[in-house]
Symmetry: C4
């Protein structure tokens, strides 16, 4: 259970992330028009699918950010354990699941069932966030899987950084029943926030390495 074990887990996880992120495109449906199949009618039909594109981009960006952070964990971890393997399996299950709630939102946003569709969408990201934090918890608890020489303060910072998603996804899930658009907006805002925050952190790291 040395580095080799971690390498295999990482390669397999990477493949699952890559396939899941690419399958999202299957949620974008080519409109089937009736009698009027002019460019104008097609444009209207495509614009009516607007939520599909937003859900596609948000799901894509969220999986990409989870992948970046997943790798962030694996740069610190040098051993595996049974709970760590289980947490990783649970995270991958949720990653492969993402195309399903994305399709739900595409189908139901704008109609009467949008509350539930967006609630399930947000809840999937909530669960994914929990699985990710579980992975980090199993990796960092007692430092047993981490490589040597990581200062306590750095670990606490990482833990704090990863724990920001939970309350916000919980809020988004609850708000879906009040206003689906706001809930979806929070999910979108969150990946933009993660991306910028990640950018900031990486810039910090880079400047420290110089």
């Amino acid at each position: 259970m040395g580095e080799k074990e971690t390498a295999r887990m990482e390669a397999f996880s990477d493949s699952v992330f890559a396939v899941a992120i690419t399958l999202l495109v299957l949620d974008l449906k080519v409109p089937r028009l009736g009698a009027d199949s002019s460019s104008e009618a097609l444009l209207r039909a495509l614009l009516a699918q607007g939520p599909s594109y937003l859900a596609f981009v948000t799901s894509f960006a969220t999986i990409l950010i989870v992948w970046v952070n997943h790798h962030g964990i694996f740069t610190l971890v040098h051993r595996t354990s049974v709970p760590f393997l289980f947490a990783n399996g649970f995270l991958l299950l949720l990653v492969t699941l993402v195309p399903f709630p994305t399709a739900l939102v595409s189908e139901y946003l704008g109609g009467p069932g949008e509350s539930l569709a967006v609630a399930i969408y947000s809840a999937t990201f909530l669960l994914m966030d929990m699985a990710f934090n579980l992975l980090w918890y199993t990796a960092s608890k007692g430092r047993s899987l981490l490589r040597a020489g990581l200062p306590d303060q750095a670990l606490r910072k990482i833990t704090k950084y990863y724990s920001m998603g939970f309350p916000i996804y919980l809020l988004a899930t609850g708000l879906a029943f009040v206003n689906a658009n706001i809930s979806l907006g929070i999910c979108t805002a969150l990946w933009i926030f993660w991306a910028l925050k990640g950018a900031h952190r990486q810039a910090e790291l880079a400047s420290r390495q110089l």
Copy 2:
């Protein structure tokens, strides 16, 4: 046909496992509602798809466990042979097949055709289990492909460990015609058992290494 050959087989097999496990999500269908497309109607439609989710999780977990054990074999094997390559191809054929019986169960569980659907589902896992044991047999027979220094007792333990699935999947396949839910329950119970058993074995290994 040294280590390099094994590495290529392993990488290719890993990709197939990763794609197959991610394609399972395509078996989860977005419900198409009629006149009433409210959140309540959508919830009822999603709950009615309950078996899909169970079949999805069971198929996901079973493929993941076969992947973990597949890697377990490849940590012991340092050479390849023709029968070993064929057995691996047969196993991969069955792994890529899994989304099909999973879709069958999703479609037919709860209806009059559920016996056959669940029998085919269990039989696929039975065949996958047989292919896996064939792979181990071709790898361990006469020790010709194994790395040196493995004690006899360890090999016998592994053989015994891998052989536990056969009678149980056979039972599940037969019981499908008596009660489809019990049969599906056995398939579910089995991956939970493998996961816990695998956890126990790994903990043992870890403690021995210290």
Copy 3:
């Protein structure tokens, strides 16, 4: 354009092979039954799909054997060239195409359109075989891309070995218009032949290495 370039081409090609071989399962359709959805009706519907399963297995095995031989070429090749890159791209195009003629056969075998469906199926393998031989030709011509020390006789043997598929796939394509089942049978017989022939060759190689 040294070994690194070959490694990248090989890894990318492997991923394409792995995804294409796993997408074949999407050609197996869950039967939608009408009023009678009993196990008996489902069994009849599944048995009526018999050709799908045969086409699935034949496509799977053919892609797997092309993958094995693709790797066989890359163990001899240490450099790349523009024609070699193009030939590889053409081969990958045909590999990713396989699920389409496989679906055609699944849909039309047994009906009046089976001649054309099976002819297209056989012709796809014919083209794949031609692309493969083109790849070997661009690799072996003038030995410019091959690693040093390969005896002339070995190269001639390989060329002869790879050239056996062409006349047979050509025959299968033509015979599709006489009898679709015989044509499909030839495609099936061919991958079994390749598998056994490959087994024989590898056993020879292994015995020589001892």
Copy 4:
């Protein structure tokens, strides 16, 4: 953020390219015939799908060429930065999107909505081209991410080489509203041009290395 970071980005990107290129086949639909399902009727139906095959081949070749050039960039880059990571994510988003406009063209070419369908198709390649140039810009600006020793002249040549696509894809997008076939023809001509141009460049490189 040394070579290891680049290796991970590259492997993940490769997987996404490989899956996206293989998913294109799902845009080729098996024709469903009515009463007349003879070989002749099937042939007519398949020929009527001609645009699907052209769009399939053009999308395949375009993704393959972007992949080749993506690797070209990564042979020069030895470090990553936040803007570089973002540009790569944006490029991957567009690569995974390709099957959607490809399906749009397959469905609408030849009908009244073809202008918009082909405009969206060309615009996707335009955006992909822009994302690719953005990636190169973030990599080459101030040379901060490039490996040492690259002559200024070589960088300018590369920048010029990559910048040729933009005006042509812009033209193709605009021309779609005048004549969809010409627009599609430009997209096809462009990947053939890139392929030949790439061949020429590589031959030059090879001759210089001798």
